[in-house]
């Protein structure tokens, strides 16, 4: 049974449908990347998962329990980090971390101090004086100090510098190695690529792709830069080949991942001198969906 599951989740704010049937699933011991542009509905989904909002229709469950009815039970084993951390201005970071720990039933002091050290947080300062990144560190320390089974992280690194982002990634990987599950909403693709076992892409309130990174790469194109002894004939007309740019027998083009197998033998006939290929990135995938949107949108003008 998955740790977290949503089924045809919808949410309407007045006339506006923020979610139109979201289906995601996070399994035990897995890091699930939840990606999508701003306003796609990531935070809304997460707020439903946290029991802060009631879904308009569909169902959401965590640990096999209903997220709206059993919120308190679920939260005993869950840790959450929002993207925009808002803290009480006249409490210190250390006080907030301890409070959150206590609400969950106590935290291990050594673990807490170790995380504060790693994230280089000054716990004696009032939250009023913290920058966005420092407030985020407070939430991250509180979350990772908790011995939770599921971590829900909503764009948790948007204010962190690269060094801290690395520490964050270490923490996620440690959690996974301990068999914990993570739902990581993000728009930083390199982060998702490094950390996630599976991803789901959400756009306009619906999941448009989901699967392992390997699965999704089938949907992407590999970029090639090739130099040959003889000019390649009919390259642009080969199935799955796109955007061919030719310059002095040096070709730059893209191939749909599933056609690479057929394109390579054809090219090799012309005497390959140099071959560079760039693996498809999540970014390409993302951008292709984006492009699709803008082409559709731009079609009318």
């Amino acid at each position: 049974m998955p740790v977290l599951e949503t089924n045809q989740l919808t949410k309407a704010f007045g006339d506006f449908n923020a979610l139109n049937g979201v289906n995601i699933e996070v399994n035990q011991g897995e890091v699930f990347g939840f990606i999508g542009p701003n306003g796609a509905g990531k935070s809304t989904t997460i707020r439903i998962l946290l029991g802060l909002m009631k879904a308009s229709s569909g169902s959401a469950s965590i640990f096999g329990r209903d997220t709206w009815k059993d919120a308190v039970e679920i939260h005993k084993r869950l840790a959450y980090v929002p993207g925009d951390v808002n803290l009480w201005p006249n409490l210190t970071g250390g006080e907030v971390i301890d409070l959150f720990g206590k609400l969950r039933g106590g935290i291990a002091r050594e673990r807490r101090d170790e995380l504060i050290e790693r994230f280089k947080l000054d716990p004696a300062k009032k939250c009023r004086t913290y920058s966005k990144g420092n407030r985020q560190k407070v939430a991250l320390v509180a979350a990772f100090a908790a011995d939770a089974d599921l971590y829900i992280l909503d764009e948790p690194t948007s204010g962190l510098d690269p060094l801290m982002e690395r520490i964050f990634q270490e923490c996620v990987m440690e959690a996974r190695s301990e068999g914990k599950s993570v739902l990581l909403s993000s728009h930083i693709l390199s982060e998702v690529e490094r950390l996630c076992d599976r991803v789901g892409i959400i756009r306009e309130g619906a999941i448009i792709e989901s699967g392992t990174l390997a699965d999704l790469r089938h949907l992407t194109r590999t970029q090639f830069v090739i130099e040959t002894k003889q000019p390649i004939e009919g390259l642009p007309s080969l199935p799955g080949v796109h955007d061919v740019v030719e310059k002095d027998r040096s070709y730059t083009f893209q191939v749909d991942s599933e056609h690479v197998e057929k394109v390579m033998p054809h090219i090799s006939k012309y005497g390959v001198v140099k071959l560079e290929s760039a693996p498809p990135t999540l970014e390409d995938l993302f951008m292709r969906h984006y492009e699709g949107e803008s082409v559709e949108a731009g079609g009318e003008s």
């Binding site: 802060l52 919120a71 951390v85 250390g94 009032k126």
Partner: protein, 534 residues
């Protein structure tokens, strides 16, 4: 060197005026209109000398004296005397607030946001910003003084001549300048603009209280307050100019001190040390109730002290009611219509309703924090922990009920305590407590209504303030205006037996308590059912 410090003050002055090109005229015009419109309305309200004289009689009581001052020329209550008595102190209080807010905005708030550092990195003198701020705020006060002076004179109301009017305006301006200068000093001390505003407003209220206490008990004491100084001009009655020198001399000294302090410290630092906070939570901060208490602790302490002082102020003057009223024949006929009760007891009943409504303010502030927390998006993280919505709601409601109860108790204790100590004990201490605490169910209903709003329509929750204001108007002024009975009935405060005048009525007290409980429960069910907005 000295000149260097003020380098580019002119440019910064223009810059501040440009930044506040709307804010400054709005303050000026709003204050001007208030003064002119009030003076004008007096001529409408009181057609002849007799009417003016009779209103003067009603003004002679310790509560009014504490609130607005003793007044001069009460035996010949001209429009001018009326204006000086009823409006000068209150308007000056607002002018003081204006000066405080403007000065902090351009000094400490600038520093806090890091903008001043930018200004200092340009070729400007280190004192340029401070002096530019003073020039603007002092200038605004001078403008206000002149505009009010000539404006009032231009209405050509009898007894409000040019000299008196200019003095009236100058009184307002002098208090404004006094607090502007004082605030420049205070802004050197704290590190945050909130701290500076808090300190300055505390001084302002302190100055007003010193005058209030002085006016009822010992007039020399009033001369330690700028509000006492402008009262001492006896404007429109005797027109004495010299007391206006006092705030100006004080302002001069404060300014010199502020410059000294400013040179001594670093940009963005405060002279009062800021303590490093705790790096671990104390035993108190381990639960939701602990958190809710901790967040409200400071305001609870301040309100508590305030309510105690409020009660004590009324209590200390209550004993003089009889003396005052005995002097005024008309008043006597007016009140002693209620047979078998002393004037003091009747006055007490009225005071208690006001004190109960005042004590409701901190209770409502307390429960409305639940909405504030939601709006600032802080509930999300709390509720992502094993904390249920009903528990959070319940904690806030309970905290509010407790706050209100404590506030009313403190105010009543203050009143009863000082009254018993000063009056030759015709009323027992217990009577005071009873008269005050009987209002608790009304206050609980107000909290309950707010809770209900938080459950059903949180965005509209602030309308509770209008309901409280409405309650104040119908309960406090109901006797004067003779409102229809149902108007009092729709306010919970109107359904409380006014002890010691009325009989104690178990039913209305029990019913109101039950209603409060019902409102809280229904509100809680709605709160559980709705989304928490980000």
């Amino acid at each position: 060197m000295a000149q260097q410090r003020f380098h580019q003050t002119g440019i910064l002055t223009r810059f501040i005026i440009k930044r506040d090109r709307l804010r400054l005229p709005i303050w000026l015009i709003a204050l001007l209109i208030t003064s002119l419109a009030t003076a004008w309305s007096f001529t409408d309200l009181y057609q002849n000398e007799q009417e003016r004289q009779s209103i003067a009689q009603t003004m002679i009581n310790p509560a009014t004296t504490a609130m607005i001052g003793p007044g001069h020329g009460l035996d010949n209550y001209t429009f001018g005397a009326m204006m000086a008595h009823q409006m000068l102190g209150m308007t000056a209080l607002v002018v003081g607030i204006m000066s405080i807010l403007l000065v902090v905005r351009h000094t400490r708030a600038q520093e806090e946001d890091g903008r001043l550092e930018l200004v200092h990195s340009l070729p400007t003198g280190s004192l340029a910003n401070l002096s530019a701020t003073l020039i603007v705020v002092v200038g605004l006060n001078i403008l206000l003084a002149l505009a009010t002076g000539f404006g009032l004179a231009s209405l050509s109301i009898e007894s409000m001549d040019l000299e008196g009017s200019l003095m009236y305006g100058a009184g307002l301006g002098a208090v404004g300048i006094f607090f502007a200068a004082l605030t420049t000093c205070l802004a050197q001390l704290t590190e945050s603009s909130r701290g500076a505003i808090g300190l300055a407003i505390a001084m302002l209220i302190g100055a007003y209280l010193i005058r209030a206490i002085g006016d009822v008990s010992n007039e020399t004491l009033s001369m330690f307050s700028p509000f006492g100084w402008i009262q001492a001009t006896e404007v429109y009655v005797n027109d004495i100019w010299w007391p206006l020198l006092l705030p100006l001399v004080a302002a001069f000294i404060f300014t010199a001190l502020a410059f000294q302090l400013n040179v001594k410290r670093d940009v963005e630092a405060g002279l009062l040390p800021t303590r490093a906070g705790r790096s671990r939570a104390s035993f108190l901060l381990q639960s939701v109730p602990g958190l809710v208490f901790r967040l409200q602790r400071t305001s609870l302490i301040f309100w508590g002290i305030g309510m105690l002082i409020l009660g004590a102020t009324y209590g200390s003057v209550l004993g003089e009611t009889e003396v005052f009223i005995e002097d005024v024949e008309m008043m006597q006929e007016f009140i002693s219509a209620e047979a078998g009760l002393s004037l003091t007891e009747q006055f007490l009943a009225m005071l208690m309703s006001v004190i109960a409504i005042a004590s409701t303010i901190p209770a409502l502030i307390s429960i409305l924090r639940l909405k504030g927390e939601e709006k600032r998006n802080r509930l999300e993280q709390l509720l992502a922990h094993p904390v249920s919505q009903p528990k959070l709601y319940g904690t806030y409601v309970l905290m509010a009920l407790l706050t209100g109860t404590i506030m009313l108790t403190l105010a009543t204790l203050g009143l009863g305590g000082t009254a018993v100590a000063t009056i030759d004990n015709e009323i027992e201490f217990f009577t005071f407590m009873e008269a005050g605490l009987v209002y608790l169910p009304a206050m609980w209903v107000m909290v309950g209504v707010t809770a209900l709003l938080l459950g059903f329509m949180p965005k509209a929750a602030s309308v509770i303030w209008f309901y409280l204001l409405y309650s104040f108007v119908v309960v406090y002024m109901g006797g004067m205006f003779q409102f229809p009975e149902w108007m009092e009935f729709v306010s919970p405060f109107g359904n409380i037996p006014e002890l010691p005048i009325d009989e104690f009525n178990v039913w209305s007290v029990a019913l109101l308590s039950g209603l409060a409980l019902l409102l809280v429960i229904v509100g809680g069910m709605a709160y559980r059912r709705r989304d928490i907005e980000g």
